[in-house]
């Protein structure tokens, strides 16, 4: 979490308005509130996560992303955060359009299905990968879309979304060393800073 925070912190202005879509237990927002004094709100539907947010004093709104974000006005936020959620939404491309309507910029992270470990899993075991980042069986997973770093870049190009920054997160020593050379192969989690 701290690693992720350090990564995206430079992209967020102090005192700005931040909306975190699928905010989980609110830890990221709590840190942003504390360190950058942002006015932050998190959207969440999991009751336990919502309770955790309330206990942390993080603003949390119970709202299902799949039912749309129509209640938010155009360009009403400086930054929209969506960490590890895109792959779980019914229509990720429409949600991307919608979040760039609401926010002037957005930060999106997702598990890279093109990572060598996932590829190897499918290639050699012939089974859908169950990894640390994708820790579910195929029949019972919230992750309903599998896509790679390259797939995402293609989608951005197709929908005229500007990529302001991209970062690649990896854990293993070799991955860390090679992710900048072969991002699609060695990135476990891709982090994008986008605008339109």
């Amino acid at each position: 979490m701290n690693h992720k925070l350090d990564l995206i912190k430079p992209w967020i202005e102090p005192n700005s308005r931040v909306l975190d879509l699928g905010c989980g237990d609110g830890a990221l927002l709590a840190s942003l509130q504390e360190q950058l004094d942002v006015i932050g709100y998190g959207l969440e539907i999991d009751p336990d996560s919502i309770s955790s947010c309330l206990e942390k004093g993080v603003n949390v709104i119970e709202q299902d992303l799949n039912k749309g974000l129509k209640n938010f006005a155009d360009q009403s936020f400086d930054t929209i955060l969506m960490t590890q959620t895109l792959q779980a939404l019914r229509y990720p491309h429409l949600v991307l359009d919608e979040i760039l309507r609401i926010g002037s910029k957005c930060i999106v992270t997702f598990p890279n299905f093109g990572h060598w470990r996932t590829r190897a899993y499918l290639n050699f075991l012939g089974r859908m990968p169950v990894t640390k980042q994708l820790a579910y069986q195929w029949y019972d997973t919230p992750n309903i879309h599998f896509f790679t770093y390259d797939d995402f870049e293609a989608l951005c190009k197709e929908r005229s979304i500007n990529i302001l920054h991209r970062e690649f997160m990896a854990q293993g020593m070799a991955d860390k060393a090679l992710k900048s050379v072969f991002p699609n192969l060695f990135t476990e989690i891709a982090v994008y800073h986008l605008s339109r």
């Binding site: 308005r17 006015i39 709100y41 009751p47 919502i50 309770s51 947010c53 309330l54 206990e55 942390k56 004093g57 993080v58 603003n59 949390v60 709104i61 119970e62 709202q63 209640n71 938010f72 006005a73 009403s76």
Partner: protein
């Protein structure tokens, strides 16, 4: 007319209890647990506020009486006060029990030691508001100008008048800022009004099952209830007390209508279904048939009309109808909430069709657009509008978690 007051004070009971009693049999275990963490024996207090209160309608109440209860201890810097705002038929008796009674206050599920509104950590103030009928100045009180009960002459009230009166009590208690103002339904309207009228005097507003204004359907139900009361020949144009009468049937009917709208179709189906209380529907029988729901509703209506005042019912339903949070702000809720400084918690219940989740979502959206701190939780419940009074694990946990963070801060934690 003092006898009248005493009679009313002696009849401190609440319709919500009755609901608990009849619909909550499955939660009896839960209620048992709550008994263990009750605030225990409580004694109502009263104060005559001598400072004139100018009402929104222009009328000045030269003085007024407020009956209230407190639970917990006020801390050294007098910063841990929580004001409880009651709804249409509520009173000051929100928690614990009175001497010689076993029945607990209307929000005993939520107020007490270790409960979501924790009397170990907060100083909780629950007041019966003016215009009501449990000892505070209202239509059944003596009008000093005539020496007779106000009756229908009691001035019309707005939610802001309740807020103004509550603020005088706050000054009496030497509290400068509430840690939180908390209320459901009409209570939530007061909490919102507090946030706009006295933004520096509350840190949090908890708005439960409420709305920025009633819908036409809501006003319609209230008017049917008022019409029921006024149609009772014992109503005597509101001056029934002077004629030693009470519009019992009219008030009972009004309550029956209200009661149906506070429950959900699912809940009534679960609890009563088409069960018969007497008779049967076999062919060839002429005996009268009574459904359980008929019997239940009649019982509720009768019970309510024993302790509630018909003029108060008319007065407070009108108060609900007139409430429009953003009226003075060019009908713009965002502009209205831009005046608020406190943090908000908004709560709704899925089967509440009188104050539906959509209304709470509107409050939340306006607060977000105004850049205010707000959290919103949408609780799943079959209990309709009355869900805000009843035990519900998620609701208890969420409200408790929110307020415990506030208590931590007040007690010098993070």
């Amino acid at each position: 007319m003092q006898w009248l007051l005493l009679k009313r004070l002696g009849a401190l009971r609440l319709a919500e209890h009755n609901l608990n009693e009849l619909t909550m049999s499955s939660d009896s275990h839960n209620n048992q647990n709550n008994q263990d963490s009750s605030v225990g024996l409580v004694k109502p207090q009263q104060v005559v506020i001598e400072q004139p209160l100018k009402l929104a309608c222009g009328v000045v109440l030269p003085s007024h009486r407020l009956v209230y209860e407190t639970y917990g201890t006020l801390n050294k810097d007098r910063s841990n006060g929580i004001l409880i705002c009651h709804a249409l038929s509520g009173d000051h008796h929100a928690a614990g029990h009175h001497e010689g009674e076993t029945k607990t206050g209307w929000w005993d599920n939520y107020i007490g030691p270790g409960k979501p509104i924790d009397s170990n950590r907060f100083y909780i103030v629950s007041v019966n508001n003016i215009g009501s009928c449990f000892g505070s100045t209202g239509p059944a009180s003596e009008n000093p100008e005539t020496g007779k009960p106000y009756g229908a002459d009691f001035p019309p009230l707005r939610a802001r008048d309740w807020v103004a009166s509550q603020r005088l009590l706050m000054q009496h208690l030497k509290i400068k800022c509430w840690a939180a103002v908390v209320g459901g339904s009409l209570g939530g309207m007061q909490a919102m009004r507090w946030s706009l009228e006295h933004p520096d005097e509350l840190q949090h507003a908890v708005v439960i099952a409420s709305s920025m204004k009633l819908t036409a359907q809501n006003i319609a139900f209230n008017e049917i209830a008022r019409k029921a009361i006024k149609s009772d020949t014992d109503f005597c144009d509101g001056n029934y007390l002077q004629h030693n009468k009470v519009p019992h049937n009219g008030l009972a009917l009004a309550r029956m209508i209200g009661h149906v709208t506070y429950l959900s179709d699912e809940l009534m189906g679960q609890k009563f279904g088409r069960d018969l209380r007497s008779g049967d529907l076999l062919q060839g029988k002429t005996d009268p048939v009574e459904f359980q729901i008929e019997s239940y509703l009649n019982y509720q209506g009768d019970k309510f009309s024993d302790f509630f005042d018909a003029n108060s019912y008319i007065l407070i339903t009108k108060m609900l109808d007139y409430f429009d949070l953003a009226r003075e702000y060019n009908h713009d809720p965002v502009a209205a909430f831009s005046h608020a400084k406190c943090k908000f918690l908004v709560v709704s219940f899925s089967s509440d069709w009188r104050f539906s989740p959509d209304r709470s979502q509107e409050i939340t959206d306006a607060l977000i657009a105004a850049g205010k701190n707000v959290s919103y939780i949408a609780i799943d419940s079959d209990h309709g509008h009355d869900a805000f009074l009843l035990p519900n694990e998620r609701y208890q946990k969420a409200l408790g978690g929110y307020l415990s963070k506030l208590a931590d801060r007040l007690e010098g934690g993070s």
